[in-house]
Assembly symmetry: C2
Homo-oligomer: 323 residues x 2
């Protein structure tokens, strides 16, 4: 690991001063440096394989042009597209984007945040309320809009209304709602959106977002004389649990029971029958959030955004048995 060349080495090689190298490579040479000199600098830099030292640049400028994307865990189907959307917007503005998983304890990321290595934070699905990033600008994604920071959200309510409309159009009158065990805000919003179309929905909240817990909750909703003809699940994973419960009770999907999910993850098409669900524009979410954060960094105040999802009707929904 030999030392990498500095701008001074480039300067020597090109026969100019270090200042000139800096100016030329920053693209600020317009009208201040002769074209042939510019050429010589570029040539020397290329020949030596010069790369600016980021630490020195950051120190000098007092800024890093880097944003941190905080996700609760790397393993989640939406984070890839969110990253892609955010990274594209960031790159277009000359910003870098770093990803950092932020588990509950909130420990590891502190070093990055505390040391001013970043200028802002994009936080996704932070339900635990760990939103203390010092005084750094923050934009929240998929979080309670009542939070003291701009929020960019999926239009969850709209998605639920789309599902409700779909089921109502098929003729369903009595439904069950398998709610995910997340924050109170999401729970309320989803419930209210559903209540508009189905005032008397049966509701069960799972103890966790996993198949086994969802199966148990679904059994509770289905194993009764007045069971609903459709089950609205807050999440595709929860829908998988509902499938298991239906099979255990000998109920056919969609013959005896319609089931809907949310998110349209891989699972949705792996299940049999394939799941009717709502696809969320994760990439747009990332892009919108990054745009908002850059606004904040420019001292503007961004407006909250809510991005509509798209109903994907598959084979897990059908008219109820009696119709």
């Amino acid at each position: 690991m030999d030392k990498r060349p500095t701008s001074r080495d480039v300067a020597r090689a090109a026969g100019v001063s270090q200042s000139t190298v800096s100016i030329v490579l920053a693209g600020k040479a317009e009208g201040r440096v002769k074209p042939e000199t510019r050429q010589a600098v570029h040539e020397a830099a290329r020949r030596l394989g010069y790369r600016p030292n980021l630490a020195a640049r950051n120190l000098r400028l007092g800024r890093t042009r880097t944003v941190l994307l905080v996700v609760p865990t790397l393993t989640g189907p939406v984070f890839g597209p969110i990253y892609a959307g955010a990274a594209e917007v960031a790159a277009a503005r000359g910003f870098g984007l770093i990803v950092h998983p932020w588990p509950d304890d909130a420990g590891p990321a502190r070093s990055q945040v505390d040391t001013q290595a970043i200028e802002g934070v994009l936080a996704s699905s932070i339900v635990g309320g760990v939103t203390d990033f010092g005084d750094l600008p923050v934009v929240l994604m998929d979080s309670d809009p009542a939070a003291p920071a701009p929020t960019i959200n999926f239009d969850v309510a709209g998605g639920m209304r789309a599902i409700a409309g779909h089921l109502a159009a098929l003729g369903h009158r009595r439904i069950g709602h398998l709610a995910a065990a997340v924050d109170a805000w999401t729970f309320r919003v989803r419930g209210e959106a559903l209540a508009d179309a189905f005032p008397g929905a049966l509701v069960r909240r799972t103890t966790a977002i996993d198949v086994a817990a969802a199966r148990q909750a679904a059994l509770d909703l289905l194993d009764r004389p007045d069971r609903p003809s459709a089950l609205v699940c807050d999440d595709d994973v929860i829908a998988a649990g509902a499938y298991k419960a239906a099979r255990a009770l000998g109920l056919d999907i969609p013959g005896d029971l319609s089931v809907t999910g949310f998110d349209d993850v891989l699972l949705a098409t792996a299940l049999e029958p394939e799941l009717t669900t709502v696809r969320l524009p994760a990439e747009q979410l990332g892009a919108a959030a990054m745009t908002a954060l850059l606004e904040v960094l420019d001292d503007h105040r961004p407006s909250g955004v809510s991005l509509p999802g798209e109903l994907i009707a598959r084979r897990s929904t059908a008219p109820p048995a009696g119709s």
Copy 2:
């Protein structure tokens, strides 16, 4: 965004010199600074909310103590645990860990790599062969051991042998192998491990790792008079495709056909019946890889490692029909 305090501000507040602050906060004050002075420095730093400037430190030290974890995409079930394992080892040695998705084009990450903001790279499942990280130390995970860098791998061959043994013990004699469309090395290793127990296995390679492609390939293997009694799939997602094919042909799992997966992702327990598969020690993989990388940074040469997986027998495998 007011200016953050520097070590000089702390020094002024504590009535000492900046050097002393640096020494004390670095923990190198043993025997060189009076305990009460140390106390005063810590107190002042705490009161002012001092955080060292990472850029300045990196510039001064010429190193960043930061490692980059490169993943092909954020969305993948193993990357969370891999990160967790690597991060823990890194933290114990005072290193930071940054995650960077590295899509095929290899563009965005270059800035991080080129500017010496990192000291080494941990690359996971880089099948595309994009292993050009300049002259930075690299450790590869889940990659061809023939690569010109240390590799830390799952013991894929061992996992396949475990599956083969499981099926052989159940009495299966004729099996099919649904191979994933990945690199040639993986394809060969898996095939060979299987061939030891089942010399005449039927093999189909899917065109992509997705449910629809796997379903098609599985149909090809199953829709024949001499169809195998068990289907070994290189991946849980592929197994989901096999489930669909079996259902389309009216075959019961595991009555008419046993199916196995690989990876033990969420999908494995969401399917019905639950999938027999191999669980991989992703967290250990991350830890082992980070350990190896730190060895390289210390100018040692780490030995390649191969981590065994664990057979998880569930309901998708049973003795063949005729036995």
